[in-house]
């Protein structure tokens, strides 16, 4: 039993490693920004523990520094985080029997955690929920640790790490490639990529996410019968 727990922990830690560097660095960036806006360690810790949404927290610093109203904060949160609806929708079946781990698994579904867990692969089915829980938990530890370090550092930027934020991009590209190689229908992957690209060109980098999500849903709905037939044919 003990050996098995250690095995699950080790596997989860290994799985979470691609997120480690990215979350520490992005967390540090957030902590520094918040410190510069006049809010220190406790605020950084609280925001990273309770909100736990990377890009939203960056936007949140702006809201706090600019003295935004609560209504503005709510509307901004819905706009920036609308994609989380999609993550959750795609995890409904997968998280069905995760028991006591379920609330935390849902709470901790960030972009990066989602990209690590959405392929549904676990080292062994019996300990799947524990494994997912620890992958998610390790990720949040990295994020909180980064935020706290950043808060300590204040305005002293670690210049030598310039470019390390590419690890996030690399993580998504590697996941994309891996899903592509895993076989199956390539229409969903292409739909996601091309619709987003189109919306980026049409709406610009600040506003393309929501139109892209709508377009993706629309296209995937339109090709539903085709893909469903495909699946029944191959599975």
């Amino acid at each position: 039993m003990k050996n098995q727990s250690a095995f699950v922990l080790k596997q989860a830690f290994y799985k979470s490693l691609p997120v480690l560097a990215g979350y520490i660095i992005l967390g540090i960036g957030f902590g520094i920004l918040l410190r510069n806006a006049g809010y220190g360690l406790l605020w950084a810790f609280a925001m990273s523990s309770f909100i736990y949404a990377g890009s939203m927290q960056y936007v949140g610093v702006g809201l706090i520094a600019g003295g935004a109203s609560v209504v503005t904060a709510i509307l901004t949160t819905i706009m920036v985080n609308a994609r989380h609806l999609f993550y959750s929708i795609s995890m409904i079946e997968r998280y069905k029997d995760t028991g006591k781990y379920k609330p935390y698994l849902i709470f901790s579904l960030t972009d990066e955690t989602y990209s690590l867990l959405c392929d549904g692969k676990v080292p062994e089915e019996a300990s799947g929920s524990r494994y997912r829980f620890f992958v998610a938990f390790f990720n949040q530890c990295y994020w909180v640790t980064g935020s706290v370090i950043g808060s300590f550092l204040g305005s002293v930027l670690p210049f030598s790490t310039e470019g390390i934020e590419f690890s996030m991009t690399a993580l998504f590209i590697a996941s994309f490639t891996e899903q592509w190689l895993s076989g199956g229908n390539h229409i969903p992957a292409l739909t996601g990529f091309l619709c987003s690209l189109l919306c980026l060109v049409l709406f610009g980098p600040e506003q393309f996410l929501i139109p892209a999500m709508l377009l993706i849903t629309l296209v995937l709905t339109a090709v539903q019968s085709r893909i469903r037939m495909d699946r029944e044919g191959t599975e």
Binding site: P18, G38, L63, P188, S196, L220
Partner: protein, 107 residues
Amino acid sequence: MNFDVHVAALVLAMAFFTWLLRFLPFLVFRKNTPGYIVYLGKVLPSAIIGMLVVYCLKDVEFSVAPFGLPELIAAVSVVVLQRWKRNSLISILVGTILYMVLIRTVF
């Protein structure tokens, strides 16, 4: 340390609505999930990863030097390594280091 009630309210609002977005689909489709939602659950993951790739590269300027070349080269190296080794950790590590070297030395 400045404790500010308004800022606390902002943080709580952001936290609560982030939770709401994450929990809502699970609460709405608790009993039985409609076939359409199950279908979306199957096809959305790869579509969303495709969207996140675009999202990460959204601020790259392809019209001015260095024309997004560091990002492009590093991205291609990640794809090639992933095809070759099928190990995400290696692909990400090498791709990131290559990018860091490129923006320091070549571009």
